[in-house]
Symmetry: C2
Subunit: 385 residues, 2 copies
């Protein structure tokens, strides 16, 4: 039972512009611009996409980034963020922002916690101070941060729990979804989060329950939390098509370039992941022929660009030899160059994906891309992410 | 006895454009552009001005930067640098580069050393490996790195040595100066380095000895090595006017904004110092009313720019509150924003100094600047550098 309200009433209106099989080409209209989908959202946990100034980030052209309620409520705190005019003004970012609700981080980062019907009591991973998050509190914080898209507050069950435990958790997430919706204001869009672990029947139930509620979009949560890749993909492929076609579909926290292609193939519109920024910091760089570890001695005298197929500022201006030199000597500029490239790589991939859907050639594009990476990484120094 | 060769023969030709008392307004012509003096050279020890990409650096507009023979001979090594086309190409920098000769670093950083007439044997501060530097070797390395201006290889005596020891060291530096000159090629300018500690007669002797040699410019070395500020300034004021008027005068490794003003007042044309980049990394930021420690709690909710008088990218785009948030949370972007500002501050100061000399108002400018900083820092949180 899907509710179909007038699009004009939505804080984030999704328009389906085209498709190529299950792959969707769309547009999500927010108060801070229109977002072309499928889209990858760089992660700006603490109101900063790690290693980049906001101007450097803007030069890469992302239309939307993600920030984290859990991290920002601890530092600098929502009172300060609101006083300073919200996250956009705080970091001088004019594009759209989606905030994670804090659910996932509370269960993966906070050290001690008590989960009750009302919400979650947890200790900060920074200083051990006691905090409380509930659906009402999370939505209030997200509204006050002034983000464009807020996420419902959910419980994210660890991989390996019994099905009964996953079901109990999912039911709690559904009750929290109703309470999250009650806190929605008129300006901030709100997405629901589907749970249910790797169990098809639970995922189906979760979609049905959430789709009956008036969310502006729907996310698949609880994947890439430790389950084998094949189970992740199977659950993704099963769940995505069940989601309402008229709303944006967001696969949370996933993943590798190959995962993005699988997600788009399953009908996903939005992605986020720390992989490009985190890998940049540990010197693992994405290229059109697979990942490379820039510290590898083979790049010592390599005067070629990091990725000859890439037109990013890093690839246009410096050599692999220089990038290796900066990285092995701990220069801050290494993190900046690496991050510029990795984020560019992800954004370029999404641009190519969108074009391939428009030209009805997504299947070929996906196959070519995966084959090139697989052959490039075979026998190479490719680091595991 | 000053040798006056034809300017056309020099790899770095200095032209005196004007003056205001002892303060000089000049131009240094190199293969990588003309440098307006007085000039501050940001330090790019390892072929990277710390925390900045080369494009970010270029956007700040410096006409010349410094790199270090000692650091670059250890990492990545001169063979590699030469193979890759020199330091300019390695770091994609089109402006001019001056390299320190390694003398100062060998005596301040290297862990074990043996000083002989021939040169210095030392162990790398990184891995303890044994290396050797001599005038011939230092100049060869600097030539092969392809810099625009090389420095003679000198011994930099520690502060606190007896006058006899300083004199012995100075005599060695003079013999090494002659040997350094013998290694000069036609493309790389070579500057001599005046030593002599805080002793007037030794400094005078050192200037006379070096000025009799065909150097393209002259540096005052061995200051800011631990001596009291007043002794540093006294030695500077005594020594600078003795240097040949027709050559560039470079005060090595100095210093604070106030030191730059004192140096210009004494007739110095060129400066370098790690202060702006190092202070940026520890959160000490220069402003028109003195230094501030950005981590200070007073900036928690400060929505104003770092320095209202500054037009740098950092001051134009983010608030003190955001800069504090990034810095206290260890975000890499904090180092980038801070470095952009501090380097801009130094370059702006030099621009203002040049304009004040042109308009014959350097004395007033200097007084106003120092008074404003002194009153701003009185009772403020100003951090010591």
């Amino acid at each position: 039972m899907t509710v179909v309200p007038s699009p004009a009433a939505r804080a984030a209106d999704f328009r389906l512009l085209g498709s190529d099989g299950p792959a969707r080409r769309g547009e999500l209209v927010t108060a801070h611009g229109s977002i072309q989908t499928p889209v990858f959202m760089p992660v700006g946990t603490l109101a900063s996409v790690k290693s980049l100034t906001t101007l450097q980030l803007a030069a890469l052209g992302p239309e939307i980034i993600l920030c984290n309620t859990y991290h920002l409520m601890l530092r600098p705190g929502v009172d300060l963020l609101e006083e300073l005019g919200g996250v956009h003004r705080f970091m001088s970012w004019d594009g759209a922002i989606l905030s994670d609700s804090g659910g996932f981080q509370v269960f993966s980062l906070a050290s001690i916690r008590k989960v009750r019907e009302e919400g979650v009591e947890f200790r900060s991973h920074i200083d051990g101070s006691l905090h409380f998050l509930s659906p009402e509190r999370s939505i209030e914080i997200q509204n006050r941060m002034g983000v464009d898209i807020a996420m419902a507050f959910d419980e994210c069950p660890a991989y390996g729990l019994s099905k009964a435990e996953v079901e109990r958790s999912m039911a709690l997430t559904h009750r929290w979804a109703v309470r999250s919706l009650a806190g929605r204001n008129g300006r901030t869009a709100l997405f629901g989060i589907v749970q249910g672990g790797i169990h098809r029947d639970l995922r189906r139930t979760s979609v049905e329950e959430l789709a009956s509620l008036d969310f502006d979009g729907f996310a698949i949560g609880g994947l890439s939390v430790g389950e084998p890749k094949e189970e992740m993909l199977e659950t993704l492929r099963f769940t995505a098509p069940l989601l309402p076609a008229g709303r944006a579909r967001y696969l949370m926290g996933v993943g590798t370039p190959a995962d993005l292609l699988e997600g788009v193939a399953a009908g996903i519109d939005m992605f986020d992941c720390v992989l490009p920024t985190r890998n940049a910091r540990n010197g693992t760089l994405f290229t059109s022929v697979g990942k490379i570890a820039i510290k590898n001695a083979r790049y010592t005298a390599d005067r070629g660009p990091l990725d000859p197929s890439c037109a990013c500022l890093t690839c246009r201006s410096v050599s692999r030899a220089y990038l290796r030199h900066l990285f092995v000597n701990g220069e801050v500029a290494a993190l900046v160059y690496n991050t510029i490239h990795n984020v560019s790589f992800y954004l370029d991939l999404m641009r190519d994906i969108r074009q391939s859907i428009e030209s009805k050639s997504f299947g070929t594009f996906r196959e070519t891309f995966l084959t090139r990476i697989a052959s490039g990484e075979a026998g190479s120094d490719a680091a595991r992410s």
